[in-house]
């Protein structure tokens, strides 16, 4: 769906710009300059305000990202459960550093704060799907499952 269609669908919802941004990010991976201008027009606010919203929330990005976004939790419970080792393993598997995207545009690796899956730590998420309590050695098969099924997105 085009950005303008998404904006039109939410523009009657008071405060709906955040839901619209979610949907744009779900479809296009990020909020482009055009999308922000489009949203500002649709919601009747200034481009500065729309950009302010786009850059306030950590789940929104104004830069392109890979098809799948891997986020490693670094909040205290995950921190002491070994999130640093998890970061190292993911960086090695993907061949990129935190904040980078693989050259084939498949994966972006980021840090996050608590995602509320602390029943087993450490936790990382792929496209919002939580993977709690895995050891670094278990991440290979998880990443490969996203390579096999290229369309895999948060299935729930």
């Amino acid at each position: 769906m085009e950005t303008s269609d998404i904006v039109a669908r939410y523009s009657n919802m008071p405060g709906g710009i955040i839901e619209a941004f979610h949907e744009i990010v779900d479809r296009h991976g990020f909020l482009s300059q055009e999308a922000i201008i489009e949203a500002a027009r649709g919601f009747g606010i200034s481009v500065a305000e729309a950009y302010g919203v786009a850059t306030f929330y950590s789940m929104f990005s104004v830069k392109p990202k890979g098809k799948h976004v891997v986020r490693v939790c670094r909040s205290a419970p995950c921190h002491t459960a070994g999130s640093a080792a998890m970061v190292d393993a993911l960086q090695e598997h993907l061949g990129i550093k935190i904040g980078e995207t693989t050259p084939d545009q498949r994966f972006t690796l980021e840090l996050t704060e608590c995602v509320g899956q602390c029943q087993a730590t450490p936790v990382f998420t792929i496209d919002g799907e939580p993977y709690p309590g895995l050891t670094p050695s278990a991440i290979g098969p998880v990443l490969e499952s996203y390579l096999r099924d290229g369309n895999r997105k948060d299935g729930r």
Binding site: P14, G15, G16, I17, I18, E19, F21, H22, F43, E49, G52, V53, F56, Y57, S58, M59, F60, R74, S75, A76, P77, H79, T80, A81, T112, E113, C114, V115, G116, Q117, C118, Q119, A120, T121, T125, G128, E129, D154, R156
Partner: protein
């Protein structure tokens, strides 16, 4: 030892969250029908008498809050469920919503009757987007079954901002803006969402309401600690044998939570510290373990119940390193609106890193403490006020952790950063 007592998690494992008939078979929505037979004033009095206090961390009397909204002028009022559960180590609200969404919806509808609201919102943290389906399905079922009756609920998502757990920041976000807290007063019960009277209650608070209406205020008031009655869900993380969630009476001691329900420390190591209330909570030394975990007992001991997260550190952990990580959380999550928090959080991280690396002086330690105290007094909202608490309480209860890291340099030698 106290036993697990399930009120809000009463239906856990007994119902399919996607089936309203399962919830109804367990007595779901009966309390709502009972509440609607009461006048709003009587209902508010009943909740006041139960002494139910907010489970989100502030501990305000729920019925009192409702009374403010009911008395505020205006035709349009809102019920907002704060499901922006972002406090690290906390996932109790997720457990409630995942397993028994109807209990939350019923609680919101009870509140709507009390304050005469026609529209409700569940502000769901973006990281819990997968729960949107369960919640909207349950709302649809409740609407079709006729339980909502002139009241409706919309699920709206956050997008990754810890600050939106603060109720006025949450309201700003619902309005489609950056989630920056408002100056208070006015408080949301008189001027909240779109400047109208608004009740913002935590998921766990709302989920208590059906049982209170069903069994009566005096039943609830007699459970747990008298000044903060009922139960509290604790989520255990860190160096603990049995990590997980436990709903227990509020007069349960920290010792029972850690050693009873949690089973103690793996490897039979000694306990070094517990942090209760999430990452914004105080670091608690072993000699305070017999403190009951209710709001007032914790506050009296200089601690905080907060969200009910319980984070356990064994004797091998480096508290200074953990505190530094925690302060960098606040640096990341500070919204930037007020100066003490925006500027204070990175300075705290800088000072702690300097101290941890052995480059700090006694001057740096004093400066960090002074800055921390300053932030607790001058910050605009609870985030900035709580941000220095882990550091300050760690300094208070584990002074050697800090003093052994710094030289005896004077202020002249110990230049900042």
């Amino acid at each position: 030892m106290a036993r697990e007592t399930r009120i809000v998690l009463k239906n856990l494992g007994k119902i399919d969250p996607m089936k309203i008939e399962d919830a109804v078979a367990q007595g779901g929505y009966q309390a709502l029908l009972k509440a609607r037979d009461m006048s709003p004033a009587d209902l508010i009095q009943e909740i006041k008498d139960s002494n139910l206090r907010g489970r989100g961390g502030a501990g305000f009397n729920c019925g009192q809050k409702w009374a403010f909204a009911a008395a505020a002028p205006g035709n349009e009022r809102y019920v907002v469920c704060n499901a922006d559960e972002g406090e690290p180590g906390t996932y109790k609200d997720r457990i409630i919503m995942e397993n028994d969404p109807h209990r939350l919806i019923e609680g919101m509808a009870i509140c709507a009757h009390a304050i005469n609201a026609r529209q409700g919102y569940i502000y769901l943290r973006g990281e819990y987007s997968f729960l949107r389906r369960v919640l909207t399905h349950a709302i649809d079922q409740a609407r079709e079954a006729g339980y909502l009756d002139g009241f409706d609920i919309t699920v709206r998502r956050g997008a990754g901002a810890y600050i939106c757990g603060e109720e006025t920041a949450l309201i700003e976000s619902l309005e489609g803006k950056r989630g920056e807290p408002r100056y208070k007063p006015p408080y949301p019960p008189t001027q909240g969402l779109w400047q109208r009277p608004t009740i913002v209650n935590n998921v766990e608070t709302l989920a208590n309401l059906p049982s209170i209406v069903d069994k009566g205020a005096s039943w609830f008031a007699s459970l747990g600690a008298p000044s903060y009655p009922g139960t509290k869900i604790f989520t255990l993380t860190g160096d603990i044998k049995n990590p997980g969630f436990y709903e227990v009476p509020t007069n349960t001691t920290i010792r029972d939570i850690v050693y009873g329900f949690g089973g103690g420390i793996p490897g039979d190591l000694a306990l070094q510290a517990v942090q209760i209330g999430g990452t914004s909570g105080a670091f608690i030394p072993p000699d305070l373990l017999d403190t009951p975990a209710d709001f007032d007992s914790m506050q009296y001991a200089g601690l905080s119940l907060g969200s009910g997260a319980v984070y356990v550190l064994d004797e091998t952990r480096d508290i200074l390193e953990v505190v530094t990580r925690i302060e960098s959380f606040f640096e990341h999550e500070s919204c930037g609106k007020c100066t003490p928090c925006r500027e204070g959080t990175p300075r705290l991280v800088g000072l702690l890193e300097k101290i941890a690396q052995g480059r700090g002086s006694r001057f740096d330690l004093d400066l960090a403490r002074k800055l921390g105290h300053n932030m607790t007094i001058t910050s605009l909202c609870g985030l900035g006020m709580a941000a220095p608490v882990p550091m300050l309480t760690a300094m208070q209860h584990f002074p050697a952790v800090f003093t052994q890291q710094v030289s005896a340099k004077t202020s002249e030698e110990g230049t900042p950063w």
